[in-house]
Subunit: 212 residues, 2 copies
DNA sequence: CGAATGGTTGATTGTGATCAATTCCCGTGG
DNA sequence: CCACGGGAATTGATCACAATCAACCATTCG
């Protein structure tokens, strides 16, 4: 088992001990296994989802075969709502995961109120992502990514649920560059590579300085 | 005069002849001259705005001095609403422009309904921007940019209100690369450079193929 | 044990950044 | 009208960084 979010209690909808806001119109939970597809780009956007456990990615493919990862969603995050009638991204399970689907209804209250806050949350993330990609260097992007996924983590040790390819496609780099850049950050004493998927952040300050 | 949106009628709030949706809580219009600042990152986000005429950019500076342009807003677009209490970007006038400010009120109906659709619109744009920046080549980014700003334009000739530096900061490139890439696209017969700020799109299909 | 997958490391190439002149475009003033 | 000046844009030469191509290593699984 890659992920181990043992604190999930479906009964009261709490993740890691933190109770979640009510999720209007929730349906029974669904399980997906690693690398399976939750929905595909172009499908009718009948539902949006909240992640209960595991990690989900939304992505899209260019016609030259390159994959662009739009975002990662961790427990508590909501994804899959759309301005239009169809999904603009494909959603896939990075790890085995559990999600709560929720039928889209015709923009009633208080659903809109809730969705609005979600949309703003997503907006901020997408803008941050664009800024990350606009920044020149691989080190800057990598530093930004590490800070992004380690936010809300007080402990210095990160478990990365995603592969190097996932990271590369999220940062607009190649796996080789991701690997080299991590090695380089380790040489700078900003991080320590405990294992391929385990990273200790030894100097958050240095990462922040790197990504500006 | 750089911009010439002569069809603006303030009386009935129409832009280029197309009537705009009502703008709840609108205040008297404001004018800003080229390169002036509408608000700065960190200011209290008291208002959001709709562009009546001209072009507005939202941007942010990294501590190494590099500028990242988040988005351009043209007549009819709404910008400046925020998840938090302060602006996360600086807004500047690319050209002389006129905007309608609107006080943020405490999330009442039907304001939220309206803001929700704006947020989703912004979200889609920010995601598209991130994807543009994630794509490798300068030609791909440039092609994507040209398609983006020429959408809703049937005529083949584009008037660019922004400088090469603006384009560069939006695409995460340098002005030299922007210039060279445009020249290259011209050699491919995808566009024709009529003047520095006038571009004719001769093959939209080729641009689409380039950016995938 | 061998195959498969994911990750790292090395050598080389290619693309865009950087540094450095020019050229173009406009508005101004003689 | 033309000369001039200044900002914007283009073009050229070189350099740096990440992509690519290619082995190689580590771990897991049959």
């Amino acid at each position: 088992m890659l992920t181990a979010n043992r604190q999930v209690h479906l009964g009261n909808l709490a993740v890691a001990g933190v109770p979640l806001a009510p999720f209007p119109g929730a349906q029974p939970v669904m399980h997906f296994s690693q690398d399976s597809t939750l929905y595909e780009e172009g499908d009718d956007a009948t539902c949006y989802y909240r992640v209960v456990s595991g990690l989900v990615r939304t992505c899209r493919f260019s016609q030259d075969g390159r994959r662009h990862i739009d975002a990662f969603y961790k427990p508590g995050d909501v994804f899959g709502f759309e301005p239009g009638a169809t999904y603009r991204f494909t959603a896939e399970a990075v790890t085995d995961c559990t999600v709560i689907p929720c039928r889209r209804r015709g923009a009633e209250e208080p659903e809109v109120q809730y969705l609005y806050s979600c949309a703003m949350e997503h907006l901020a993330r997408a803008q941050a992502h664009a800024q990350l990609l606009g920044r020149g260097g691989a080190a800057q992007r990598m530093a930004g990514f590490l800070l992004e996924i380690s936010v809300h983590k007080q402990a210095g040790v990160l478990e990365l649920p995603m592969t190097r390819q996932d990271i590369a496609d999220y940062l607009g780099l190649t796996i080789e560059t991701v690997s080299r850049t991590l090695a380089q950050l380790q040489k700078l004493r900003a991080i320590r590579l405990l294992a391929a998927r385990r990273i200790e952040i030894t100097s958050r300050a240095m990462l922040q300085e790197l990504c500006g």
